[in-house]
Amino acid sequence: MADTGRSDAFVEFERVQKSYDGENLVVKDLNLSMPKGEFLTMLGPSGSGKTTCLMMLAGFETATHGDIRLDGTSINNIPPHKRGIGMVFQNYALFPHMTVAENLSFPLEVRKMGKSEREAKVNRALEMVQMGAFGGRRPAQLSGGQQQRIALARALVFEAELVLMDEPLGALDKQLREHMQFEIKRIADNLGITVVYVTHDQTEALTMSDRVAVFNDGVIQQLAPPDTLYEAPENSFVAQFIGENNTLEGVVTEMMGDACVVRLDDGSELDATPINVSKVGERTRVSIRPERVEFNKERLSPDAHTLKAQVMEFIYMGDIFRTRLKVAGNDEFIIKTRNAPDQVRLEPGSEIEIGWLARDCRALDAS
């Protein structure tokens, strides 16, 4: 406990690296610290090293370099079965030759728990995931969603304080997914457990987590609560990866503290907030969320820069309208407007002027 600076950290990765083949680093210099009770999601494209991190935490892979600490103690040399970490696998890994109840009582049996105590805990766990009546069935006789619940119950039944979940909802349909997201979140909150959750579905990450770690290429690109992540992405990867995003490329022409002017490649200029640009003349990529783009002049600040845009396509989506524009040579520029009674439906082919608040427009790295 003494060797860590932050005493509230429950799970800690410190300068962790991992390589499978001795040539490529799959995880590069991972630093992460989680307080007890947090629901942290690792989000990232396929192959970005999420599962690898989870496996190192669970003890099935060893870190090539660095230290992983659980509750202040380094666990690098503790075998997986002594770590007491609950885990829900991507394919559930329910033991096919055991019934649901046997699956659940397995972790209790290996902990040499008495029979009556075991039964009580198994029943409680089954009740928790609302599967009380299914104890006698085999995993193969359950639907995907039911198997998922059992896997969750099994990871929780031995009262692990830390539960790892590797894309637990990957195989479910949309409706069930949403329902299970809610269930998992509810159970995690009720039990007060710490959860590391892996997904590459950003909606899932945003709706469930206390904090989200966006992975790319073995590096955490940003670690922040969902709203920060969405509204204040720190680099263009995060901006692109989380939610829908419009980008325009250009060069910084003026720096004024917390605002800057960017000249786009077709010559027009716009106001932006500099995030990771620092000097005039630097290339940048500005990012604007579709719902923050305004074409109604009354709602724009009078001194803001505006851009000319051509309406390419109008898509009716029920609750919102989605309009595709051509702006500064980019014809994939999307704006979203609410389907309100007084809302204007833009005609394809018409010319309009668009603008936004400088704080909604973020000048990020050009990479």
Binding site: G59, H81, G86, F89, A93, F106, P107, R154
Partner: protein, 519 residues
């Protein structure tokens, strides 16, 4: 599902009950599918099932006695074997006629060898008697009949009299003998022609015309012969002394006993023999201790097959596990090593073991060299059960490894990980989670190895000596050396039943759907 709605059963569009029309359409589909596979099915039936049925039949078939000795079989019906006396002259007369024809047909030696399976000495008895039977002095009858009327010398006379079925019915012995004899020539497309009539025909004629009996036939020759004999009985030729002269075993009660016991067309004799029993007047009894071999051999075959299966599991499981957990490139290489033995001849592999295991062989030499075994105390590894078990385990090992491998290949490593993350040690994770999932592979491998082992033949023959041979070696012996196919068939049938029985037990205990060859 039930269709018990208030409106009764569901109806299809044309008004027939849905179930009926579903069944009809399914039946059509099945029929079409069956027609597609019909040629193959027929082929399998003919080439696979038919020989098995034929073999089963052969194990109870016993036509040869009643076909070769029909008159004797009839005659012996009147003989009570339990008295301990041999039958009287009447039986010798019958067997004389039968043998005379059998000698013509050259069937008497075959019958001898058949009966020799049941009673040693029968083969030589029939062979010897066959040689002597032509020299019996039954020609007295020939002379007396031809003296009485020269017409008897002419085959035409016989054709005329015994071409008439009514006469055959009234004088069956001579009638049937004549017909069988004449049939011998007719089968070759000729008639008796001017051939000399054999003495035994006149003997038969005498046996049936010697007593005065009423016949409806008006044939003057027959009537004359009967009248003449009732006035002055013919000079006779007693058969018992002549048979005794040919081979005194004819006075042995056991010989007659055997013929009588094996006269029915179907016999349980082969099966009794196959379980170390024999027929006796008191029914089936166990053979003397020193002649009992088959039961012991069956037990040994079973026991050794189990030991071989067990050692295949012990050796094959780790190998399959390594195979399933290696990266696929090295796994393929290893798999080739596992399959390598299949590319060399079975005989070569077995002979190699002979070289390895012998007294002065590689293994013993190494053991002596290390000092584990004393020079004058070398291990007996061959020509006994040890040799058979070692060699057969090696030969059958791939049949265990392959199904195990293909089953293990399908067990996701995430199960082991899951078990460990739930707190199980490596051993518990293996034993409680991995092993049960690999049981179907063990089952499939064991069935394969066991069934192959129980019928194995070449390897025990070469390395088994006398104490390491299997029942199949006895079967092979009876097929190719002793030519006792009936016994071989009976042993084979018992083996088949045994295997099916074990299979049934396996199904009851483990469940046959618990067997996986892969996927």
């Amino acid at each position: 599902m039930s269709d018990a709605t208030s409106s009764g059963p569901m109806l299809a569009a044309d008004g027939t009950p849905l179930k009926t029309s579903l069944a009809r359409s399914l039946r059509m589909r099945k029929l079409r599918a069956l027609m597609l596979i019909a040629p193959l099915l027929l082929f399998v039936l003919i080439t696979f099932i038919a020989p098995i049925l034929q073999m089963l039949l052969r194990s109870v078939e016993n036509q040869i006695v009643s076909d070769t000795l029909p008159e004797t079989v009839v005659a012996l019906e009147q003989w009570d074997a339990t008295t301990g006396d041999i039958p009287g002259e009447f039986a010798f007369e019958a067997i004389y006629l039968d043998l005379a024809i059998a000698v013509e047909q050259k069937l008497h030696t075959r019958l001898g060898s058949r009966l020799n399976y049941e009673e040693t000495g029968m083969a030589s008895l029939f062979r010897k008697s066959g040689r002597r039977i032509g020299r019996f002095d039954t020609d007295v009858y020939t002379d007396q009949f031809t003296d009485l009327n020269a017409a008897w010398e002419d085959p035409e006379t016989w054709y005329e009299i015994f071409g008439d079925e009514r006469n055959v019915a009234e004088l069956p012995l001579v009638g049937r003998s004549w017909q069988r004899w004449a049939a011998l020539f007719e089968a070759e497309g000729e008639t008796v022609g001017k051939r000399d009539l054999e003495d035994f025909l006149f003997a038969a004629l005498h046996y049936e015309t010697r007593q005065d009996r009423y016949i409806t036939s008006e044939n003057p020759l027959l009537l004359q012969a009967m009248r003449a004999q009732s006035e002055t009985p013919f000079e006779t030729s007693r058969l018992i002394p002549q048979f005794e002269d040919a081979d005194e075993d004819w006075l042995d009660h056991a010989v007659w006993q055997t013929i009588k016991t094996y006269s029915p067309r179907y016999t349980s004799g082969y099966f009794l023999n196959a379980i170390d029993m024999e027929k006796s007047p008191e029914g089936a009894v166990a053979k003397p201790e020193n002649l009992q071999i088959y039961i012991k051999l069956f037990w040994r075959t079973l026991f050794m097959s189990l030991v071989i299966t067990g050692s295949c599991i012990l050796l094959g499981y780790p190998v399959a596990w390594i195979l399933a957990n290696l990266p696929s490139r090295s796994a393929n290489l290893l798999l080739i090593l596992v399959l390598l033995p299949f590319w060399t001849s079975l005989l070569v592999r077995t002979s190699a073991w002979k070289v390895m295991l012998q007294d002065q062989g590689v293994i013993n030499n190494v053991l002596v060299w290390i000092g584990l075994v004393a020079e004058n105390d070398r291990l007996a590894l061959i020509n006994n059960q040890t040799g058979t078990i070692i060699a057969m385990t090696h030969i059958l090992l791939p049949f265990m490894i392959l199904p195990l491998y293909s089953v293990m290949k399908t067990i996701s490593p995430s199960y082991l990980r899951a078990a460990k993350s739930l707190g199980a040690t490596n051993w518990t994770a293996f034993w409680r989670v991995y092993f049960p999932q690999s049981v179907p592979g063990i089952g499939a491998g064991s069935i394969l190895v066991f069934i192959l082992a129980i019928g194995y033949y070449i390897t025990p023959e070469i390395v088994g000596g006398t104490s390491g041979i299997f029942i199949s070696n006895r079967i092979a012996y009876h097929i190719s050396s002793s030519l006792n196919w009936g016994l071989a068939a009976a042993l084979g049938a018992i083996l088949l039943v045994l295997v099916l029985g074990l299979y049934w037990c396996y199904d009851k205990i483990v469940g046959i759907d618990n067997v996986k060859l892969g996927g």
